[in-house]
Structures are given as C-alpha cells and as structure tokens.
C-alpha cells in the first residue's frame, strides 16, 4: 500500500506551500530521512523529509506549484505499484495554480522550457482585459467596454466607485485628461541618446510570492487595524560608538565584532524590563503582558523581509545577542530559518541606519505592540555645556499600538533606551 506524502504545515501562518524543486524523481529509491523536495512557505524555504522508505512512485505536484496544506505531493511504495492521484483534501486550494503534470524525466532535458511569463513588448498597449490572477482591475462592465472602445489603459485609471471600482465617469474623465502613460509623458525633451537607453524595465507581471503576499496582508492589517502613535527621540551616540570601538579593538582576538544594532537589541531588552508595558499584545478582550522579551529584528531579503527572534533577550549578554543575531541574519539571507526562529517575537527592531536613513517610522508587526525604527548615526553640530561642538547623534522612532499603551508609556520606554545607550557600560553588566 503506497504512502502519500501531503503538504505539511511548516509555519503557523502557512496555508499553501510552493514546491520549489524536487530533490528526487519518480523511480528513485527513498530511504527514511531522505530529503524529497524543497518547499517554500510564507517565510522560509525548507526541505521536506521522507518518513517512509520505498520507491518514489508518483509525483503529483510539479516544481513551482503552490499546494494547499494537506494536498498530496507524491506517493512512495513498492516498485511497480500503481497509484492514482487522490482527490485533494482541501475543498478548494487557497491559491488556484494549475499543477502541470510532471514531465517525463528522460525527455525533459531536450524540451525547451517555456518562459513562465510571456514577454510583452514594451511598446504594445496593455490589453484592457483583466490580468488573469494578479493585479485584477476593479472595473464595471460598462467602463471596461468604454475603455476598450476608447483605447484607454485601465491600469492607469483611478476608480472612484466603491472599493476603487472604475466606473464610466472615470473613463470619460480619463479620456479628457489622459493619464500619464507608462511609456513616458508628453514632454518634447529628447536630450541626447536617452531614447536609446530603452525602458526602465521590461513590462511584465510579477506573480506575488508567498512571502510578498504575507507581508502585504500583515502590513495592511497593521496599518488599518492599529491606532498608531509615533515617538522620536534623539540621543548622543558618542559614548556608544566609543565603547563599541574599545570592545571591538580590545576583544578582536576573541573574534568579537559588535555592531551598533547589537547594542540596540540589548538596550531594547533591558528597556523592556524597565518599561514592561511595551512588551505586550492586544487581544481584543484583554492585553497580554509577555513575561519574556523575545526581541526580533528585521532582515531584508531579495523579495521581502523576515524578522528572526532573539529569544529571552532579557536574559542574554550583549555578546550572546551579537553571536545569535549574526547567525540568524545569515540563515535568514539563505532562507534557512525554521519557523521557531522567526515566530513568537514580542518586540521588533528595524534598522535602516546602514542605508544612511537618518530617521523613519516602521510598521508594527502584529501581535507586537511596538516597533523601533533605528536611523543612522549623524555627525552634526550639537550643544554641549553651552558650546556648539561636533557631535554624533542617533534618532530612533517608536511606533506604538495606542490600544495597548499610551504615548507617555512609549516616552518612558524611549527615555530608558536613551539612558542605556548614552551610558552603554550599563549594557555590559
């Protein structure tokens, strides 16, 4: 009797997984513990392990397919055993992506792969029909017909109807005042060889990746459901930079290389201990105060970002935090984080200092109640003891969920953070 391997639930928010590639092919002998395939969840790419031994009889989901949790991926059994694809267990996949039948392995090498997306010539007008799955334009049937008649690109028209639906009036307005086209405006400037440099990029539709979809959903949830309050504080970064220099030079042989962000993570953990109301979550009928400070930090990835978590940061030294942050950051970039490493944070730090941004506001990652946005250290004139001197400052911005705590509490937290970072020796004890 063949064993069916189903799409497992690999993260707490996962509903579908993308089958990135098969590591085995039909007919291969499988030992228990062999890795069968790579599966991309909403957060990470993970390897799918076989708990069964036998022959890989049949693959049901081709590479690239999005498969709902519980739907069959492949069957393992005795050689020659015939298996039929079982009906998907889910009523309807959350994301309907047709699953291509697996190509015969022997022949596939000679068959040219069709491009996943047809290339659209940059000069061709966009068809007024809705895009099949991505970026569907909300438009009334009448407006769609009118736009086709008047050759108006509906993707450039803003809808004034409910939910942004494009209605007749919008098309008539667009006809009178044509929207700027994607190819360029009506400017007559033709300076030099500008035109020969071609378009900014090839006009194309990029499918929304699982991670992109999760980011979109959660950020929208956050900005639409949370009443925000933002608090800035500027601090003297001189002592922090000096201490960092001392430690990194003095402990170079021990392999210590602390970043500014390591100090900030440590300072956040300590400040959360001092102002624990910030270390909380809104749960509608009550507020959950978290006993531990699990401090997450945002890591940019090629197509999105992820927030690995320093667990129990309130119990760890800056050196432990630094080592852990480095390791998590590396795994994040390689998409190798396991769910336990990027879930369960109670507070988050987003740092764009290395990109030269002096100050910004970050979007809270629910169910956190706050996120700290960290800017770059800026060299500028400051007043010290009544004298204008050259100083180094750092500005951080706390985005707060006003349901959970008020501005004054946020200010206390930032005050504690400032005290710690301006007297950074406190972070070593």
């Amino acid at each position: 009797m063949a064993q069916f391997i189903d799409m497992p639930k690999l993260s707490d928010t996962m509903t579908v997984g993308t089958l990135v590639k098969w590591l085995k092919k039909e007919g291969d002998v499988i030992n228990a513990g062999d890795m069968l395939a790579e599966v991309e969840t909403d957060k990470a790419t993970m390897e799918l392990e076989s708990f069964f031994a036998g022959t890989l009889l049949k693959i049901f989901s081709a590479a690239g397919a999005q498969v709902a949790i519980g739907d069959p991926l492949c069957a393992i059994g005795k050689p020659g055993e015939v298996v039929a694809a079982p009906a998907p267990k889910t009523a309807a996949p959350a994301v309907a992506t047709p699953v291509a039948p697996p190509a015969p392995v022997a022949a596939s090498a000679n068959v040219p792969k069709p491009a996943s997306l047809p290339a659209v010539p940059a000069t061709a007008p966009l068809a007024p029909e809705p895009a099949p799955t991505v970026g569907r334009v909300r438009i009334s049937p009448l407006a769609r017909k009118l736009a086709a008649e008047k050759k108006i690109d509906v993707t450039l028209v803003n809808g004034s109807g409910p939910g942004g639906r494009i209605v007749r009036a919008d098309i008539l307005a667009a006809e009178k005042n044509p929207p700027a086209t994607k190819a360029g405006s009506g400017s007559t400037f033709t300076g030099g060889a500008l035109s020969s440099r071609g378009p900014v990029q090839e006009e194309r539709l990029v499918p929304v990746s699982t991670m992109r979809g999760v980011i979109a959903k959660r950020m929208l949830e956050s900005t639409t459901q949370i009443p925000y309050v933002y608090l800035d504080i500027e601090m003297d970064a001189g002592p922090l930079l000096a201490l960092r220099e001392q430690l990194n030079t003095g402990l170079e042989k021990e392999g210590v290389k602390l970043s500014v962000n390591d100090f900030i993570l440590k300072a956040c953990a300590d400040a959360l201990r001092r102002v624990p109301a910030v270390n909380a979550s809104w749960e509608a009928t009550h507020i959950r105060r978290h006993g531990a400070a699990h401090v997450a930090f945002a890591v940019a990835m090629e197509d999105g970002l992820i927030t690995p978590v320093i667990r129990d940061a309130h119990l760890k030294s800056i050196f432990q935090i630094s080592t852990e942050a480095k390791s998590l950051g590396k795994k994040a970039k390689e998409k190798k984080l396991v769910p336990a490493e990027f879930t369960g944070g109670t507070f988050c730090v987003s740092n764009l200092g290395m990109m030269g941004i002096p100050k910004f506001t970050a979007i809270i990652n629910p169910p956190n109640a706050a996120i700290l946005a960290v800017g770059t250290t800026v060299t500028k004139p400051v007043v010290k003891n009544g004298q204008i001197v050259v100083g180094q400052t750092l500005t951080v911005t706390l985005s707060c969920d006003h349901r959970v705590f008020d501005g004054a509490v946020g200010a206390q937290f930032l005050g504690a953070l400032k005290t710690l970072l301006e007297s950074p020796a406190l972070l070593l004890v």
Binding site: S140, L142, A143, R144, K145, G161, R168
Partner: protein
C-alpha cells in the same frame, strides 16, 4: 379626461366586458349582494342579475375549481379572491389544473379564467392576509400575471385579461383602490406583456410594478430635486409575459439598475430580473444591480414597522443613492 378611482376603473372594465360578452360572469365571496368586500363589484348585481354576478361560499378550493371547470367549457369567469392570500387554498385548482390544462390537452382545452383580487401589505391585516404571490404564480408556465399600478392600466389590462384564452391572475392593491387617475371614456385595451415607461430619466432605471411604481415616482421627484439624479421608472405592468425588451432598452440607456418590488426577496420577481439583466446587459452595467424588496419576514402586524418593512419612497431614495455610489 375624467378622473376615476382604481376601484371604479376595474368596475368599469368588468361592466364593459359583461355587456360585450354574455359568457363573462363574476363570481366570488360577497361580490353580489354585498357589492364586494372592497366594493369593486358595487352595483353589478343590480345591472347584470344573479346569473352573471354570483355569490359563492367561503371555499376557495370549491369556487375556484368551479370557475376553472366552467372556463374549460366556454364560460369566461372572473373570480374574485377577497385576498390573494387565500389562493393557496386553491393552489391545485389554480397552478396544477388551470396552468397546465391547455398543454396537457394538446391545445384542445383552453382555460380563459381570470382570478382577481388584492395582493398587498401595508394595511395592518397580518401575515396571513398580506401575501404578494406574483412570483409564485409567475413561476408556472401557462399562466399570465398582471399587477397594475394605476387606474388607467387596471382598466385596460383587465379587459385584455378577460379576453385572453389563458388563465390570467390579476393582482390588485387595497391601498390603490381609492387612488384616482385619468381614464378615457372611450373604450381601450392594454395588451398583456407590455411594460410602460412611467418616467423618463438618464442616470438610473428603476424596474418595478404595482404600488412600488407610485413609491418610485415619488422618490424620483425628490432625487431629481435634491440630488440631481435623473431616474427612469419602468412599470412592468405584466409580470408574465415579461416585457424584457423595454427593461433592456432602459438599462442600456442609463447603465444602472434598481429593482423595486413589494415581494419577499428570496426567489422573487426581482431575482429573475436581476439574472436576466446581468445576462443580457452585462457590458452595459456601470455598477451592480441593486434591489429593494420587502424585508424578509412575515408581514409585520405593527403598522409603523410594517410601513418600514415594505418599500416606501424614503427606502427607494436610499436605495437609489446606494446604487449610484
């Protein structure tokens, strides 16, 4: 042109047809000696005598069955239901027998019966006396269903109904009985299956019938004056056969639709219209098809609440504004 009531218009139609065709008879509870429960048949007994104007027992299954049988033998009975709500007592006679007999007999037997009476809510008579069964009736192939809104339409349509060789169900309205309208003295008939554009407009089409035509016309005045919205009101007049061409032409002109009906919303006349409109005019719609119906509950006994349960001009205005969003 003289102004007469909706009630008088129906009476005139009956009198004219009784005079024109000796096979026409009027039967029902209290239609003769009491001159009609709602005085629609007032004076007809005195003019036409007891063989033409016949009182029946309080037994819809019995006297409607009598009428159906008589119509198969060449009589043209006009049966009065004191309330259309009682049609269900004679469901088999009306919808199993009358509706199917021409088809079942291969065209050998016609059933030229008219069943008429009031079918409306809004008069505090309770849930069992307030049914509006035009959707149930019209669901049956082989029948015709008429719901007039004005005195003029009531007279012209009833005369056509009496002359028609199929069962025609004529649904009146007790609240409209006293409404006056211009009705010519000269004879006229209005063909069944012809809608009437009661008000010309440009921005939105209200498809409606019966008393909701009156509500819609009142609402249209306010919408024009206060909101600058030009509403076209299409009165179906006949639910079946349905003059869909007129509806379609109007929708293609205004591109937005609101259906208004004194009907429970589930599987109503409006649901059928909505299906047909989206099917035939999809590319002409600038917004979803909207509908205003009776709130889905048994007719509410409390008069102020019943007023809100039914479509009324204020609810029509609100619905038009929503449909124009």
């Amino acid at each position: 042109m003289p102004q007469i009531t909706y009630r008088e218009a129906i009476r005139h139609a009956l009198a004219e047809e009784l005079t024109r065709d000796p096979n026409v008879v009027v039967m029902g509870e209290e239609v003769a000696q009491f001159n009609g429960a709602y005085k629609v048949t007032d004076g007809l007994l005195a003019t036409f005598g007891p063989t033409r104007i016949v009182d029946t027992p309080i037994s819809e299954a019995g006297f409607i069955g009598l009428g159906v049988g008589a119509s198969m033998l060449g009589i043209r009975p006009v049966m009065e239901l004191m309330f259309w709500s009682f049609y269900s007592v004679a469901f088999d006679q009306i919808l199993n027998n009358a509706a199917n007999v021409r088809y079942m007999s291969g065209g050998q037997i016609n059933c030229p019966i008219v069943i008429r009476g009031p079918a409306n809510g809004g008069t505090n008579v309770g849930a069992t006396h307030s049914h509006t069964p035009e959707n149930v009736l019209a669901n049956h192939p082989g029948v015709k269903v008429v719901v007039p809104a004005t005195a003029y339409d009531a007279k012209g349509l009833l005369k056509s109904a009496i002359r028609d060789n199929d069962p025609v169900f004529f649904l009146e309205n007790t609240i409209l009985y006293g409404d006056k309208g211009e009705v010519p003295e000269a004879e006229y008939v209005i063909p069944l299956g012809k809608a009437d554009v009661k008000r010309v407009g440009a921005d939105l089409t209200i498809v409606t019938y019966g008393r909701c035509v009156i509500h819609s016309l009142k609402a249209a005045e306010v919408l024009e004056k206060d909101h600058g919205i030009s509403v076209e009101v299409v009165d179906l007049r006949t639910i079946r056969p349905l003059d869909f061409d007129t509806v379609l032409a109007s929708v293609k002109k205004t591109n937005r639709v609101l259906i208004v009906e004194e009907q429970k919303p589930f599987a109503s006349v409006g649901t059928q219209l909505a299906y047909m409109i989206q099917r035939e005019a999809f590319d002409h719609l600038d917004g979803p098809i909207h509908r205003l119906a009776t709130i889905d509950a048994p007719a509410i006994y409390s008069p102020p609440v019943e007023t809100e349960q039914l479509p009324n001009p204020a609810r029509v205005i609100k619905a038009v504004l929503a449909a124009m969003a």
